[in-house]
Symmetry: C2
Subunit: 241 residues, 2 copies
DNA sequence: CTATGATTCAAACGAACGTATGAATCATAT
DNA sequence: ATATGATTCATACGTTCGTTTGAATCATAG
């Protein structure tokens, strides 16, 4: 079925083809979504034959999965490695929330500067895909992520023993959303209209986005616990200053 | 072109058809996305003829826009109304951040309990659409939102005079992301795996989600300002506790 | 009761979709 | 040099897509 990998410096042709397809698919999926991108666009952009995708990957779905696997394998290994390292250096003590958040979200954002790991394009694709409707994509991502999420959740539980676990999971979820938007398009809603009057900082200034996002995430993660209204019926908004 | 609206109690047939189409489209766009939903699915689910969409709305794109307009018109008017009301009652003083955040995001989340305004289905659709790739959707939403966003941004500028405007806009953006995830599926990444051991609180418990989200958003909004690394080159992670 | 315009309906349009096929072309090992 | 298997290629398949058409059906006004 699949091509056998030979040794030697050969294999330039098909490796090139595979990579070109993956690059084009990454770019187009990011720009137009999975359903909005056709095989003919992908192969056209990549400069390869239409049949090449099915030959090398089997199907469009399998291509999409490979687009993610190519990047996520490294990302999740790096996240695990950082957690291992931090926990090894903490002498059995719980980690600081800022360390954990940086390990998970900081590692992600720092990918944006690494063009050979997909850079901003992949980050945007990922940000948009987490809310994508396509069932098989979310299922695939959930499986790819599961063990990493479990370990980071566990680390947060230990770091914040006084915060109910359900609360931590929700806030992890909120942090994912904030990060997703931070990278998904950054002009998602053109909130951006007229902001950068003074400064010339936009998406590409990752060195400014990262501290900004980190402050926000940590502020949210460590916010006072919510007060649930005791009464049922219509819920009260939290008016506490 | 368009059907003329007569007086009287008639018009039951086409009004029904229009609403049935909008309801089905809202549900299906939420579940499978714009590109992933076909006209035949929509009309089939709605129990109307295939041609009905083009007759009543003109095109699939126009249908999508109407799906949003039907809900957003009310939402944005309500948001404006709340801001007017709060500013009228503040005696010229800046509003509290919690008031502003509740006006914008609280009003949105409270829609989920209002089934006749789309309820959770529309909220999820909206949450997922903000990151959707389809150009025309984002353009449309940006236009529909623009004036509301401007007013809320201005209110935040006034409420937080010591925070740089660019910082506020970024944090607004982050808040949008967190909220989007809070409503988009809530199992976006199955972060949820095993959390609710103790409590039975899930998406449907809006009365618990709202205070939770509000705490997080306000914590993020009022977090300490980020420290930008002075040096250029590779950026340092914010390691400050 | 009949005329009129709005709405519904079955059917079809051409275009684009993902995938499959079998022959041509290439690189390598013998 | 030739055989072999991997890869590329042009082409076609069957489906499904959004949209259009013209006749049938409905509700109302005169």
């Amino acid at each position: 079925m699949a091509a056998e990998v030979h040794e030697g410096m050969a294999e330039v042709r098909n490796i090139d083809t595979r990579e070109r397809i993956l690059d084009a698919a990454e770019r187009l999926f990011m720009a137009h979504g999975y359903d909005g991108t056709s095989m003919r666009q992908i192969t056209g952009d990549a400069g390869v034959n239409l049949a090449a995708v099915n030959y090398h990957f089997g199907s469009k779905e399998a291509l999409m999965q490979e687009v993610f696997r190519r990047r996520l394998d490294w990302l999740n290994e790096e996240r695990m490695r950082m957690l291992d390292e931090m926990e090894a250096g903490s002498g059995g003590q719980p980690l600081k929330p800022s360390q954990i958040v940086d390990g998970f979200f900081g590692t992600l954002l720092r990918m944006a500067d690494d063009e050979k790991r997909g850079g901003l394009t992949f980050l945007r694709l990922l940000g948009r895909t987490l809310t994508e409707p396509s069932e098989f994509i979310r299922t695939f991502l959930a499986e790819e992520y599961a063990h990493v999420l479990e370990r980071y959740k566990a680390a947060l539980f230990r770091a914040l023993p006084d915060v109910p676990k359900a609360e931590i999971v929700w806030r992890f979820h909120f942090m994912l959303g904030a990060t997703s938007y931070a990278i998904a398009g950054t002009d998602a809603l053109r909130v951006v209209t007229d902001w950068g009057i003074e400064e010339g900082d936009s998406v590409d200034r990752l060195d400014r986005l990262l501290p900004r996002l980190m402050s926000f995430l940590l502020g949210g993660l460590r916010a006072p616990l919510p007060q649930f209204a005791a009464a049922e019926g219509e819920q009260q908004a939290a008016r506490a200053a």
